[in-house]
Symmetry: C2
Subunit: 182 residues, 2 copies
């Protein structure tokens, strides 16, 4: 009974607090989406499958006339979550269009290559800004491990922005050097 991608996020999200599907989605959008996204189209059907498999249990907790189902981990679900967490394999997938363009940047004029590198840097700086905002929003209230992950994201995008800034300077210097010769 292998745990699916969304299944992992859901079980993890329910680890400490019971939540509605909507709340799970909101949590994901504010946190894991930077390294593990999930959409409604996955969450709601998967909640049903997890319930069917006995890993989560849903109880109706409406707010007024608005129906609302809150899901919590069953002991079996808790075991499945732990089993996944201690399992040794770790997948890592990246789709970075900036790197792909840089890889093929030989087809560009020198100044166009500089512009490309610049836009990659700006992209990482934009993510960095967003992550810093999130960090301020939650100030002290974030639990330990989530705060580590956030710190990692911040450090990482800072590092990336710097790497591309360095390359940008180098390429830009070459462009100016050529102009001076001409």
């Amino acid at each position: 009974m292998e745990l699916s991608g969304v299944g992992r996020v859901i079980l993890g999200s329910l680890q400490r607090v019971p939540r509605s599907g909507y709340e799970i989605k909101r949590l994901v959008d504010h946190s894991t989406r930077f390294f593990w996204a999930a959409s409604y189209g996955q969450i709601y059907p998967e909640l049903r499958r997890l319930e069917q498999a006995g890993l989560v249990a849903g109880t109706s907790e409406p707010t007024g006339e608005r129906r609302r189902t809150v899901h919590r981990l069953t002991p079996k679900g808790r075991r499945a979550l732990r089993a996944w967490l201690v399992a040794p394999d770790l997948s890592y997938e990246l789709r970075d269009e900036g790197l792909l363009k840089l890889f093929f940047a030989g087809a560009l004029a020198p100044d166009e290559a500089v512009a490309l590198v610049r836009s990659v840097r700006l992209q990482h700086e934009a993510v960095l800004e967003r992550l810093l905002e999130i960090q301020e929003e939650s100030a002290g209230r974030r639990p330990r491990f989530p705060s580590y992950v956030l710190a990692y994201g911040i450090d990482m995008h800072r590092w990336m922005a710097k790497w591309f800034a360095d390359l940008e300077r180098q390429l830009a210097a070459e462009v100016t050097a050529k102009e001076e010769v001409a």
Copy 2:
């Protein structure tokens, strides 16, 4: 006429040298797959679509009795490649199971958390080793921008391995501190 994901890799791969579908796949597996993968199931059908759209042209160049179609960029294909390269938008998608587990690591015992962080570090070190091998294999023969991208991958995984090594030390120190109290 928006260029698809595989379409970008294919056009880029044909930028300097005409190639067969098999050769494209091999190139991808040795280079872009770390940040942009592509399978046979995508490459061959997409080559047909690109030919239909007039972006690439295939010519039959068999080796002996073994049929072989070599594809090259048409002027239209070259324009499409350049248009994509200079377009401002850059997608960035990450699926990092190590980060996801770390995010939920509150469900683990302290020593289990250390083991997790250690395995994430080892994972990045393994990728790093692989990238260093690739770097040696191709020594001087790699074109400029691909070598930048390779250097980036190496620096990045080195940085990541170090980040997790630091966290690992910190968490391990806490475990030992607790043991001494007990």
